[in-house]
Point group: C2
Chain length 395, copies 2
């Protein structure tokens, strides 16, 4: 064909991190069909949906089977019952949101990627290491990216010190608790970012996908910080919280105050979603509502507790073997320093080959991730115990 | 904020067509709470999901409730069981597809909108009137758009005659059966488009969302036409076929042969989807598999038959009252010429006020839609009988 393509796609690496991992694991298991692989790689949950959620979904399927209760197209930005449940959730953090500021969608990944469509030729600030979608989606749009190195020196929590801001604002990504390092910004640090954003006219895209794991008093929402409504969008998800990785429901908050170039960001996002998205399945929205109910919250906290017990088990082996690591406290991720002289992909291959454990190479999350490796606490207790035993031998 | 926005959003009209209709209807019902509104506006289905589909979804919810059968992240482009079911569906039309050429997603609207990200600064050919997402999503990307007028003269089926093609190809949208006119391209006409696309190096985006309504021997898939694999992407959906408007499942076919600028379009779309999308809910994919099974096909054909009975009823009133219209044969849509001197929005208001019937103003689908009006056959038999009686009085 002679049509012109989006040239920016040439600069995006061929394979997405987790596809590459899947392909290396598939190759290994083909050659070693007897190996009992333990997957602590992709951050995928393993516990089933909770009773409140599945009861609600079953009831919703039954409604879809009857003409009198069948539901066609959902309201574009989410059913009121779910928007209200999300508002109540934020109220628990002392945050008041308007219904029209919340947009329900099929996943934080979709929203993180798609929201970049609203912007012009801005400079983007992206932590390094971090969830690869921030970088890839901006590369696809041809934007200038500057990295915020997250290192042992700054406790894996980059701050705005030294950033110039210049005449125009930045698009700033903040993920707290961070994927992959497990580091969490405290109130004072987030306040410094909000202050920087407001001073420089920047927009913060706050990824709160792991907020349910916070146990140390750090903010669960950027809107707990004064001034954040004037500079921040927040994206949250039920994936890691209610086990919705295969069920798909998340939301994005775009406060009414956010304007740029005389345009309301909330209206722009509404226009984008109404044009290129057609809502989340009714059955899923009923499941999400149940996950956010009082009973659902209690059950979800049970899931989080279970996974955090895994994190403790992995952490204690690493501590015992003298491996340097962070995370695992207010986060389901453990971020360890590769031992020996391995690059993080070499370490991946060695851990897969010698211990039959799949983790995620730090290099997949950015340059500063080289030499590091991510383990997740999302396995079963049994698999994690077995992994802990293998790691004790491996290190 | 000082950040730069996507300036193209200024050129996209404020409200999406169906949001505007919803807002006018809400205003009317607030003023006339006693009015029994019949909705033949947005093309939303009203019959429930079929037994094969809801049984499969119930079983899938039960699987999600048990640790041993729980599913987390789905394969990015769809579970094999669903990809295989889609392949078998195409085989019925004599079309052979590779598994890696099929991408399952949450809706044709999403794919129609998102696929525009893959392109550069191309000229886009869009039928007028047509589904508004083609135009809006390209306006958001700032592309030049040329319209293909669909008029009474060409039977609402524009052909490439007279198009120059020039040095570079076009992006060409074809929707058959057409939304809103109900017109369907026959084999010879589609072959002329495929030939034009191949000669000029253009890409056809073929929207087959209404293929299940074809009853007159016209092609169900663009790939029934020789040469189409070299110039066409096809987007199909279970919304109008299996009643999935509120359940959300569709797919896009990108043949391996499609390359532009040395890049494989299939790989580019895979990269896009793997970066900005995280798969369709497991429960929904099981429902979709069931809808595509032999039993499911039979049930879905029952839904189509039911709706087409409505189309016949509406058509016979229009015929009786001497109203000019097309569609309603291989399509659930009826496209009528507004009577009197009404603009299509005036006609909308008059029909709403006098007959309490909601339809869709032709102007919402493009300039050539002015003076026309769309009625859908997706109501119940009872509501359609009542609508037919009211229309008999109205005209």
């Amino acid at each position: 064909m002679k049509i012109k393509i989006n040239e920016n796609y040439r600069s995006v690496g061929k394979s997405y991190l987790f596809s590459e991992i899947a392909s290396r694991v598939a190759k290994f298991t083909a050659a070693h069909p007897e190996a009992r692989i333990i997957r602590l790689g992709i951050g995928d949950v393993t516990l089933p949906l909770t009773p409140a959620v599945t009861s609600a979904m079953s009831a919703a399927v039954a409604e879809m089977a009857e003409k009198s209760t069948f539901r066609g197209y959902a309201p574009e930005f989410g059913y009121d019952f779910l928007l209200e449940a999300i508002k109540r959730r934020y109220a628990r953090f002392g945050v008041a949101l308007g219904t029209s500021e919340i947009f329900v969608s099929d996943g934080a990944k979709s929203d993180v990627g798609n929201i970049t469509e609203l912007f012009g030729d801005n400079t983007v600030l992206i932590p390094d290491p971090v969830y690869p979608v921030y970088l890839d989606s901006n590369l696809m749009a041809g934007r200038r990216v500057e990295f915020l190195p997250a290192t042992e020196e700054n406790g894996f929590l980059p701050m705005p010190d030294g950033l110039r801001g210049e005449g125009e604002g930045y698009i700033i990504y903040i993920c707290s608790p961070n994927n992959p390092t497990g580091a969490v910004y405290d109130r004072e640090m987030l306040a410094a970012w909000v202050d920087f954003a407001n001073r420089t006219g920047s927009l913060i895209i706050f990824d709160a996908a792991y907020e349910a794991y916070i146990s140390d008093g750090c903010p669960h929402s950027i809107y707990e910080i004064e001034g954040a409504r004037g500079c921040a969008v927040e994206i949250c998800s039920l994936s890691k919280d209610a086990g919705f990785t295969g069920t798909r429901c998340s939301w994005t908050v775009v406060p009414a105050e956010l304007t740029a170039g005389g345009m309301s960001l909330c209206e722009m996002w509404g226009r984008r979603q109404a044009t290129k998205f057609n809502g989340v399945p009714y059955v899923v929205q009923r499941g999400a509502e149940a996950a956010l109910s009082d009973r659902g919250r209690e059950e979800c906290l049970g899931l989080v507790k279970y996974y955090m017990e895994n994190a403790s088990k992995l952490a204690s082996v690493l501590r015992e073997r003298g491996v340097t690591f962070t995370g695992g406290v207010s986060s389901p991720y453990i971020w360890l320093k590769c031992t020996g002289t391995d690059s993080s992909w070499e370490f991946f291959d060695r851990l897969l080959t010698e211990a039959n454990i799949v983790g995620t190479p730090g290099a997949g999350f950015g340059k500063c991730g080289e030499g590091y490796f991510r383990l997740t606490a999302f396995g079963s207790h049994e698999a994690t115990d077995e992994a802990a035993a293998r790691l004790r031998t491996f290190f």
